[in-house]
Symmetry: D2
Subunit: 345 residues, 4 copies
């Protein structure tokens, strides 16, 4: 089957891969739509995501939706032809973290399109791919595949806000108006945030954020002091979600969050340690917590999309054919032009 794989930094190829066969409890899915994520871009740019470097060619893609093409034995409740959003995570379900209800931290996780383990786990940018039956979430006819392919990044955002604690009546700061930041905005609003401010260094996505309901969209490249007013009286925000991976953004966050508030780290920082105002964290009892992927939030995301409770369509900037792989990746990396870029065969 045709699939889009990364062979090293800058070396992205559409080529032939072996036909997948569904094992016991597995299904085959024909890809209908796939989104390009920041980690796909990192493999493309640097041949690595954080500490995970490519050791062999890797089929990319983990924001995928498609149609069930074949059903292996031992599968109940799924049938050929069903339209599904595919959860790219395949946790073992038996390790200590899975049993604690935190399967996103599974110690034997197999995640689509990831070099975290070797041999690498192939992703979904493939005409047809296989997955465990429980990774498939059937979507209603009314939901198009583009929307379904947004369930994955939406799940990341929903997990971020879950880690933030209740947002009912809370004042929320989101740093970074990329795809995750945007989805955090939508999720925070849906979850009852009273006030949501977003920051970024690029104006275009901030303009969209304001349209989508941000109470403030602060361009820190134009006004580096735009967060200053929120630092008064010990910090305006109850919760901050850091979605840039920038140490400078994190530093700003700690100044604007109130005593007893909460900072959720979603973005991946540059290598090495990051300076953190630990004494402020201590004396003001700020909770600084990480958010990594998602667990049950995938199902919630599909449900929200199916019921129209969150509208992600304004975030899908462009859908390109898989044959325009490289232009699609370049567009996906241009924050002035695109939030989310989708691919299809």
């Amino acid at each position: 089957v045709l699939a889009a794989a990364i062979y090293g930094a800058g070396d992205l190829r559409l080529g032939d891969w072996p036909e997948p066969v569904p094992g016991h409890g597995e299904v085959l899915v024909r890809l209908r739509r796939g989104g390009i994520c920041g980690s796909d871009l990192a493999y493309y740019r640097k041949g690595a995501v954080g500490d995970f470097a490519l050791r062999e060619p890797l089929v990319l893609g983990h924001e995928v939706a498609g149609e069930i093409e074949a059903v292996g034995d031992g599968v109940a409740g799924l049938a050929v032809g069903q339209r599904v959003a595919v959860d790219p995570s395949r946790p073992c379900l038996g390790c200590a973290n899975c049993r604690r209800g935190r399967s996103n931290l599974c110690s034997a996780m197999r995640f689509f399109g990831s070099a975290a383990v070797f041999p690498h786990v192939a992703g979904g940018f493939s005409e047809v791919f296989s997955c465990r039956a429980d990774q498939c979430h059937v979507i209603p006819d009314s939901m198009d595949y583009g929307v379904a392919a947004m369930a994955e990044p939406l799940a990341v955002a929903l997990h971020g806000i879950a880690r933030a604690g209740t947002l009912v009546g809370q004042r929320v700061l989101v740093t970074g108006a990329g795809p995750i930041g945007m989805l955090v905005l939508l999720a925070a609003r849906r979850a009852g945030a009273a006030f949501v401010a977003m920051t970024d260094l690029v104006e275009q996505p901030l303009a969209l954020a304001r349209q989508l309901g941000a109470d403030a969209g602060l361009d820190l490249s134009r006004d580096p002091d735009a967060l200053k007013p929120f630092e008064a009286d010990g910090g305006y925000f109850d919760v901050a979600l850091e979605a840039t991976g920038s140490p400078a953004a994190l530093a700003g966050v700690f100044k604007a969050v109130r005593a007893g508030g909460r900072v959720v780290q979603l973005g991946m920082m540059p290598g090495g340690d990051t300076p953190v105002p630990v004494n402020r964290l201590m004396a003001r009892e700020i909770d600084f917590v990480g958010a990594f992927r998602f667990a049950g939030e995938f199902a919630v995301g599909v449900d929200y999309l199916a019921r129209g409770l969150i509208d992600v369509r304004p975030l899908i900037s462009r859908t390109l054919p898989m044959t325009e792989l490289e232009p699609a990746f370049q567009l996906a990396g241009d924050r002035r032009q695109a939030i989310k870029v989708h691919l299809q065969f």
Copy 2:
């Protein structure tokens, strides 16, 4: 009245201060025992605690117990002659944090012996001092004043473990075998920790920690790799309590705590930011939270001491007369010889 005050770094004086008068809702307490805390030592050594520098002479002392000497009007339930442990915190009770049940973060807190506000708030190293009635916790006749003066640092430790979440069945790492670390050990054990390891750079307090129930007492000055075995399989500890204020200790903690674990910062770091492995915190969803002073834990501490559920007596290294103020402070600063040093008139 005679009181022990700090006039600047290294300038500690026992001298005469105005007789306190109890206001409405206040009582006078005659000091029977007072403990020297790390922040008292910091004023003595550097004339400052963190960002709070002395701007005028300050009566020190916030670990105090004594006898009620006089009762102001509007006070119910207290009488002259009662023996009390005194909570040094006087929160406003009306600000947002007080109303949230987090009075330790009160934005108008008045805390004994602290330069955090100006004019400074006098402490309890005074023959007689005044406090609000609700700061007094009556102790049973069976509890001596030395034990009662330990209620305050015990409350700090209890608040630390409260911030750690349940410790039932948990594996706990405590960095720093100073007075707070020792009390965290006792509190963690009491709260159901299955395994408690302590680290320090000095052998003497570690030896005591082992006697008091630590499952491991690791001297990192002798064996800098003593925590290595605990880093295997992604980290042995469910919870770590950082009670040294050392960036190196904190770095070690993040390596030895499991995914989904929790790090509680109790120690005050040197000025400026501290390097933190933020990507590890993010990808492993480690909660990094501060613990500052205490709220309801003071009452729990007194209750534990009164019922004999925690025995703090092995931690009281020496009790000296107030006239030996300077030797007492020097002894209190010598970790080879002393855990906690007490003063009395």
Copy 3:
């Protein structure tokens, strides 16, 4: 001043009461709008609310908004002429529950228009009434007094959902489409509920509930089995909020809530104990919790209303002059005609 007081069951009188004087830390408020609550109706119908029977005439009203008329000494941040929503609760702030952050359970609570203590605490259906400064929440010019008077029942609903835990992605059942049930619907939707079903025995409020966003509005008087489909597979709902005070409704709730789900009791039951399926609660680990009044949720309610995040206007059925006191109470008690009835001088 003129005020509306209850003298016994069915004996409601508009009459003269002494002019209030603001004490230290208090203000006088001129009533602009007051809502009739179920407990006002209970005093009117039975001369009692639950166990609290009238022992003297009582000025009713605790859903009130008005204008500051005078400011006592010791009040900061409020001025004559300001428009305010008034929190009817005056907790002591110092008792154990207040200090735990649960001032709604204050053991010395003084709540507007309540016979819970003797002498009774006068309510706000009075031309002018006094309250502690911190009970006043300034509202923006854009918010009319009718909306402001809804802050109190909205706070009850917000407290109910706070007791339910996060509602993000949850399936929610609300029994009872009275004013509180309706506000719970709006609050649950705002807080991220994926699906909200409401039940009642009267069609008219259910029709409104469907308009306001309920996914299902089930009239159990027409179809007593309407909840049956939700009992399949061990229960459809993650959370139920019981807002009728009917044992039959509670029985239905326990059948339709999944294992590990949560039931929040908002309604007051008839006297005596209520049958509860305790074995089901035990074996399915259903949390059954009470929700009583509110604490910080009043401020959240005012904020939501000010920002237009919840629209309560469809619930205000009618506003009548205080001189039509008795007709207003009768209308308020007719669920076919009214959700919430307001009064004004």
Copy 4:
């Protein structure tokens, strides 16, 4: 193999059953010690536990420890000859509740010696029995099999206190001094309870409870008003654990628990609904929650026992040979003589 099975009320037989064969991922365990539980007794007395009636002969026993006799394929980390405590629960790991970290509520649970599903799941009162590898917890040589067989009821108690929230500094009421109540006492003490009172209607176990650390052991058959003093000031206890299954005990509990407190239901009530003071639950925001079996607490129990942090030996009243099956069951049902009775081949 020989096994002890129940054929109907009062019809207990030691007889021959087919030799078990370990499937993929399974092991065979030779029984060394088995404890008689209240549900075993219920099958013996009534042929049913709650709603679960016998439909075929059932091998009883779910508190078991033994030696690994054979290892099926696909098993890692276990070897013949290892000594193990056996977790009788075999959750599916894939259903919604398992994924939430609440495998005790697994919708496809297979639990040893239970008629909850048909065909029934055989228990462990069998010379040799099979189980999934992850059900085996290796015990140290220092732990005898009798202690290991207590891991299961200890896990029930630990799950009970987990459902109670933190017990650090809390005042705890335990109703019922049977095996579970006793273990709750030990667990609550271990978890930091400041005060533990127990009630029962039989003096003998209360005497033991006092020896094991209960601060009060109240015999309600001698003094039905023994809990009265604890009802003052709105209730003395922060937490109550109801381990009798008696409506009268539950009624007493609700009177003695403070506003904002928590009631955990462990005992199984007689059929039908139980009267609950719902208005008190509502107006005082008492959390009433169920505790059913356990999940991760089994491992904690084994760890506590291995480290000597809880000593269950005083609770093992007698160990009898399997051939004395009926006398053993009769002894186990006599609360004057026995807490826990063990069986061995």
